[in-house]
């Protein structure tokens, strides 16, 4: 993967505000997001493609789709 223009987008959860409801888990087409011990949502950056479905679904709006500088 060349760096520079084609930066990969990933979901990023603000864990301090996540309510661990699991709405994001239900909509992720790649099962890239899971609830860690009932406390917050955890994204697997290797699987996540940054599609943003989880961010749209999250009732607390605590997921951001951000560009990852390097992978």
């Amino acid at each position: 993967m060349p760096d520079g223009k084609r930066k990969r987008k990933k979901a990023k959860v603000d864990v301090s505000l996540c309510v661990a409801c699991g709405c994001c888990v239900k909509v992720c087409p790649l099962s890239a997001i899971q609830i860690y011990k009932g406390i917050y949502a955890l994204v697997d950056p290797k699987t996540c493609v940054g599609c943003g479905k989880c961010a749209a679904e999250c009732p607390a709006s605590v997921i951001e789709i951000k560009e990852e500088p390097n992978t």
């Binding site: 409801c21 699991g22 709006s61």
Partner: protein, 195 residues
């Protein structure tokens, strides 16, 4: 939702809806609602997960369906204060205080100090006459009083949830749902993390 095949528990919203409807016909069915209190607690205490919220909660699914699929929601972000710890824990405490008031009233009927009141109290304030759903009980009047009280709790939270569903994201009730907050708290304590 390609790889997300439906499971039996994706239909538990039917149970939640049925529960609400049954309360209009026979208030004693309200007792079944205790399941929505004990199952999440048992799961979080026992397994340290929120799989009740994540999988089985029919109420969350119902909001997701009405607000999401049927589009009865503005799909706006909830205000910041609503997801703050202060509000969430504050609401949890308030909710339980009100719950204990309800238990106290039930106790008063059991002890004979008070008569059965055939009302459903909405939003802790409005007393709705509900005698049509009461046909007597084989048990003590207190059993019915608890049913009226518990149904009040369930109806109140549904109404609140519907309001925030329309105003904000479909499942915004889950942001401040006392059961959700409590199970998350239990999981947090259990895992020994303080975040």
């Amino acid at each position: 939702m390609k790889n997300q095949k439906k499971h039996w528990y994706d239909f538990l919203w039917i149970a939640s809806l049925t529960y609400l409807i049954l309360g209009f016909f026979n208030i004693l069915f309200a007792w079944l609602g205790l399941l929505c209190f004990f199952i999440p607690l048992l799961i979080s205490f026992g397994k340290g997960t929120k799989s009740y919220c994540n999988r089985y909660c029919g109420r969350g699914q119902l909001f997701g369906l009405i607000g999401g699929r049927f589009g009865l929601s503005r799909k706006k972000d909830v205000p910041r204060w609503m997801k703050s710890k202060g509000f969430r824990y504050g609401f949890l405490v308030f909710f339980f205080l009100m719950f204990f008031v309800m238990l106290w009233n039930t106790y008063l009927v059991f002890s004979g100090a008070q008569d059965l009141k055939q009302v459903v109290t909405l939003l802790w304030t409005f007393k709705l006459p509900w005698q049509w759903a009461y046909h007597g009980t084989l048990f003590h009047d207190g059993v019915a009083q608890f049913a009226f009280g518990f149904y009040s709790v369930m109806l109140t939270s549904t109404v609140l949830g519907l309001v925030t569903m329309v105003l904000f994201k479909p499942r915004s009730w889950c942001v401040y749902c006392p059961m959700g907050t409590m199970t998350q708290l239990i999981c947090r304590v259990k895992s020994g993390k303080d975040r």
